[in-house]
Structures are given as structure tokens and as C-alpha cells.
Symmetry: C2
Subunit: 382 residues, 2 copies
């Protein structure tokens, strides 16, 4: 990840303090590899998640055609090369770490006659009492996740990917998210959500952790080796009622300080929360109902990768805001890793008073494309 | 403009090749000055335009209160200082060239009993046959234009500005726009729209041109000295039918080459279009119906400042995209400068086949706030 410079872009030099003016745009995330990019990739500033349903006549063979087109388009666009049918090539020359990630929803396995290869965790999540799910943000056949540090590059790439298969798919939803712009903060800073909280502090980061927690080893489902899964939840955040809380109440609710992101039992962001610590009166320092106390993994097997984006769209009439989080979680096994945490949060999380899940979908993320003879999803389709 | 570093942010150093990693966020556009910022300011990557209507009981005195709050909030937020009631101060520390610009719609002058001070050009534009205007994007009492290179800073600033006056206003619309991210391209590059065209090549740039064309001198309306006006048009762009055109057809339609942006009568972007040039058969080189031929000023008095943003929002069911341009034009006198051009384009512009105005509003932009004892709009209200 993070390679700089590529054929056709001219030589660029990144220094320890970041690329020179105008050269963020030339940074490339390699498309080819054993894993799809856009997951272990340091989060880009902008993301668009597109939920697509296949047209009625798309069978395995036609779907393979779609995936071949996307593979070709993605390989080109992510390297700063216009797509083969690109009618705005001038918008394609600055990839700005563009990534394209494709996922397969549960019904896709039926459609392409591969039910036996569907992992049991590629299925709807349980119904939770906290949910107010709207099918407008619900499960689709296919997911396109496209991320870039540049919003024009992103808009153009999404359009190229969708328009080239437009007769074979319909768009159910488009969800746009954002983080800090590239260069606003040092690259190492943990992103914040619109409640002001740091989000993703406990993420697995080492290759060993990612291999253990995120990337499938193909043991049960050989086609999925190098792949993973995504749970995408659209979580509305009520900024108006959150505003009524003072800072101590907010910090008790989340279990972390708002400024540094340190757990209430520590002094620095990356201190491990100590759920057993008590004060001199024997009262837990970390409120047992706080978000951290409920969300924190009970054992290593409950860890997964969070890669969330903020959303903030035009509010409905009479409202001041429509904002929240596109919560994206990546893990090998949703049942083993994600659900225990989600179940605890749904049972109780002090933060639930201000957050409402309104969209939910899960997808298998097939492995990456290793070379130019390969295409996305080949191991599942062939 | 473009000052770097400020109290509370620590020392930062911008070099000829741009700020070091993580320091774009500390760049400040000064709030105080004879003009409001966000107009002559080099366009930031992101913009949010908010159309607000005043509650029924807001009179001149109460409106002055709103403007005092906005003045205080804007002065703080644009310098990287949380607002006085900021509940997410951690989101305020990276202004990333944040600007806040306030405008007054035609009905505002009635509301605050200042009809005699309303310039005649602060009025609805004529109806055009090309328009398909939706009141959902229509004229409001007040405009907030907020721009930043960082989308979190922008989201937070808009929220702070709106929430602090929420009982006295209602939001009619929120329009989010984007250009290239800071650092994707060299700062001097002219932005492109989603048709791939460079947009704004002919803009006035020198202080002399801005003083002559954009900033009011107060001769007719003393309160407006240092102010200007904005025409904000939401123009849907049909990317699907535009896709059907090949490059020569596109370039004949716009009158410029797509790669360099040079007029068809020249070789470089900033060459002046020669509307009289003919080829050896006597045929005009610049098609008389092309966008450039129709839009180009016929005399200096028809020039104005374009500062447009792209939009690309979730498409309605069955569609592939909902994209276009938030066309923002700034000029001293809409009747003298803007209307002659708009009238010509409405009469004929080859580009009209692919573009549709769906929103339209005009606002007077009062002068800037010179010092901390001043507030936005004071010269009109007192």
C-alpha cells in the first residue's frame, strides 16, 4: 500500500512530511494482490458504497462478464488510467489512492448457483430491538465500495463502474461518507466521528493480526482464501440530543475521554481499557454500560477491523441535520467475531440512546486479483 | 488570503511546494476584512450552501441577534477556535481554510423594513424557457455559504452555525458541492466539472478586476460598499446523454478542447477566444452556438466571477446518477453583468441540451466585518 508514482503519471517523490503540492493525486494503491484493496488500506478521505441488485436475466455467466468489466475498469482507474470506455479521461488521471472493493450478498449465491459455497455468516444479521431498519438501505445482491482521497476521482470512478454495466444492474442505494481530508491531520491520527469521538483505536493493524482476524485462510471455503466479509450498518446519530449532554456525561457514555481518546482507565489513546479497574470505593472506573465496556472484545477472537465513514446529508423538512456513521466492519467470520459484540451492544450500550441503526447489509468479499489473467470472483464462479 | 498559522494552532510552515503532512488543516482564511471571505478566496475543496427562511417572529432586531451570533461563531471557527457553545471542540481545531459567507434574499429587505435599500437586482431572475425550477432549491430569506478543504470541519461548522439559531430559522435546502481535494492537483489548476470541462478559466483574478467587477463601491447603496451579490443556480447535468457524444462533438458544443481547456481558436487555456476567427472556407472556427461563443462577455462590463462546485448525490430509483453543478456567480450588478450573459445562454447555448437549471436564488452579500466591534450586516440594519 501507499506506493507512489506509476507509469503514465511521471515521477513523483513523497517525503517523510508528505507529497509535494498537487502530488497527493498521484498516489496509487495497487489493485493487484492476494487481497482486495480498500480494507487494510489506510482509510481514504472519501468513500462511496453502492448497493446493486442484478437484473432478472443475469446468471452466472453474465455475472462473470460484469466482474471482468469491473476488474478491467478497477485495474485501470486505480492506476490513474481512464477506463476503456472513459468519456472523461481528464477526470481519471489523479487516482489519489483510489480503491475499488467488490462484495457478494447472500442472494447472489443462489443466483449464480453456488449456494453450497456460501459461508453461513453471509446471511442477514439477527433482528435487534434497537434497529429501525429501512429497506432503502438494506441488503442487496452486490456491493461496490469505492474510496479515494479525491471526491472528483471518486465520483468519476463510481460512474464509470456503474455505467458500464447499467443494463444488468439496478442501484438500490448510494451511501457517501467522509473523514478528514488528506493532509488535514497527520496520517497516524485516528479518525473522529461527528459526535467528536475517535473511532477505530483498537483496530488490528499488524499483518499477523490481519491474517488472523480479517483474511480468510480458505480452510472451510477454499474459494474465499484471501477474502473476508463486511458488515455495513447505516447508523443515524442524533446530534441534537447528543448536544444536550455535557462532556463528563459524554465521556461516561462512551468510556473514553473526548480529547485524547484515552479509555477512562488510562491516560493515552492506545492504553488498553481495564474493565476491572475500580476506584477507592470499589466502583468501576469504566462504567459497565459504557460503549467501550460493552463493545470491547472479551477475547482475541472477538476482534475485527472497523473502517467507518461519517455521513451528513441534506436534512428532511423541519430537521436541522441528517447525519451519522457508515459503520463498516471486516472480519473472517461474522458469527464468531462480529455477532458477540453486536449482540452485547444491542442488549445494552449507553450510547444507544443517541444512535439508531437504519440500514444493514452483509457481503462476502472475494479475494484479490493476483494478475492480469485473473478477475474478481473467479474462484467462486468457476 | 492563504495566511498560515494562528494563535492556538502552533507554528506551521508552508513551503513553495505546499504545507507539510497534516498541516493543510491549519491554514486560515482571515475572517475580518472589508470583504467577506469565500468569494475571492481560491476555491476550497468542499462547499455547503444552506438556504434558510426566518421564523415568522424574526424582525430586524432579532435578525441582528442572529447576525451577531454568526459573526462571533464564524470569527472563531474560521480561526480554528471552537464556537462559544461548541460541544465538539475537537472537530473545530483544523479550519483548513474554512470560510463563512452570508447573503440576504429579496424578501429579507421587507422583513427588516429596509425595502428602500434593496438593489433592484436583488430580485428573482426572469423566467427562462430552459428552466425546470423546483422550489425545493428556490429563493430563501438568507444564504449561508460555508467552504473548507476539510469535510469534517465543514460539516461541523455548518452544524454550529445552524444549531445556534435553530429556533429562529428553518432550513429550506442544503446543497453540498466538491472540487478536487486540496493537494490532488497544483493550486493553480482550473477546476473541472463532471462533464470533464475546465470551469472558470476567464475569471477576474486581479485586485483591480475584482474591485471593478465584484465588489460594490457603495455609490448607489452605501450600506453595500465592499459587498457584492451571488446568483446560485443548481444545474442538473445529464451525464447519460452527454456520454453519447464523442470528443469532437463535445468540444464543438463547449467551444474548448477538453484536455487543455484552450478555446478552439487558440492553443492554450488562457488564450482569449476569438469569436470572429474563420477557417479558409470562411466558416467560424468557434461554432456560434457553442457555450463559449454564447457565454463569453461581449464587453468588459459583462464579466463576473464564477465559483462553481460539482454535486453528485444518491440517484432517484431507476436512475444511475443525480449530478450537476452548483453554479455560483458573483458580481456587483446582476442586471448589468450577469443577465446579458444568462439571457444569451437561455436563448441558445448548444450545451443546454445536456444541462437543466433546477434551482435558482439570488442574494446580496453584505460587506465584511472589519473589526471585532462590528457584525455582519450592520451597515444594512442600523
Amino acid at each position: 500500500m501507499g506506493a507512489v508514482g506509476a507509469a503514465g503519471l511521471g515521477a513523483t517523490v513523497a517525503t517523510a512530511t508528505g507529497p509535494a503540492d498537487g502530488e497527493n493525486g498521484t498516489e496509487i494503491e495497487p489493485f493487484h494482490g492476494v487481497h482486495q484493496s480498500g480494507i487494510a488500506t489506510r482509510a481514504q478521505a472519501h468513500a462511496t458504497f453502492v448497493g446493486l441488485d442484478l437484473a432478472a436475466d443475469v446468471d452466472r455467466q453474465r455475472f462473470a462478464g460484469i466482474l471482468r468489466v469491473w476488474t478491467e475498469d478497477a485495474a485501470r482507474l486505480t492506476s490513474g488510467t481512464p477506463s476503456l470506455t472513459d468519456s472523461e479521461p481528464e477526470l481519471a488521471h489523479r487516482p489519489a489512492r483510489l480503491t475499488v472493493t467488490v462484495g457478494f450478498g447472500p442472494a447472489l449465491f443462489d443466483r449464480i448457483d453456488r449456494v453450497d459455497r456460501r459461508p453461513p455468516w453471509i446471511a442477514p444479521l439477527p433482528s435487534y430491538a434497537i434497529d429501525r431498519l429501512d429497506d432503502a438501505w438494506g441488503q442487496t445482491d452486490v456491493l461496490l465500495q469505492v474510496c479515494s482521497d479525491d471526491p472528483i476521482t471518486l465520483s468519476h470512478a463510481v460512474r464509470e463502474l456503474v455505467k458500464n454495466v447499467r443494463t444488468q444492474v439496478s442501484i438500490r442505494w448510494v451511501q457517501n461518507g467522509f473523514l478528514r481530508a488528506r493532509g488535514t491531520e497527520p496520517e497516524s491520527a485516528t479518525p473522529r466521528n461527528l459526535f467528536g469521538q475517535k473511532d477505530g483505536t483498537e483496530n488490528p493493524r499488524t499483518t499477523e493480526d490481519l491474517d488472523r482476524l480479517v483474511w480468510d485462510d480458505g480452510h472451510r471455503y477454499p474459494w474465499l482464501a484471501g477474502g473476508t466479509s463486511i458488515v455495513l450498518r447505516r447508523i443515524a446519530m442524533n446530534l441534537d440530543t447528543w448536544d444536550e449532554l455535557d462532556r463528563p456525561a459524554r465521556e461516561s457514555t462512551t468510556g473514553r475521554t473526548l480529547d485524547t481518546g484515552a479509555p477512562l482507565t488510562g491516560t493515552a489513546e492506545f492504553d488498553r481499557p481495564d474493565l476491572d479497574a475500580t476506584d477507592r470505593y470499589g466502583i468501576p472506573v469504566m462504567p459497565p454500560g459504557s460503549h467501550v465496556a460493552r463493545a470491547h472484545f472479551r477475547h482475541e477472537g472477538e476482534r475485527f477491523l472497523r473502517r467507518a465513514y461519517n455521513y451528513d446529508v441534506a436534512p428532511p423538512p423541519g430537521q436541522v441535520s441528517d447525519a451519522g456513521l457508515l459503520f463498516a466492519a471486516y472480519q473472517r467470520d461474522i458469527h464468531e467475531q462480529y455477532l458477540p459484540v453486536q449482540n452485547r451492544l444491542a442488549e445494552f450500550d449507553a450510547l444507544n440512546q443517541w444512535t439508531t441503526p437504519i440500514g444493514s447489509a452483509v457481503y462476502a468479499i472475494p479475494p484479490g486479483v493476483v494478475d492480469s489473467g485473473d478477475h474478481l470472483g473467479r474462484s467462486l464462479l468457476e
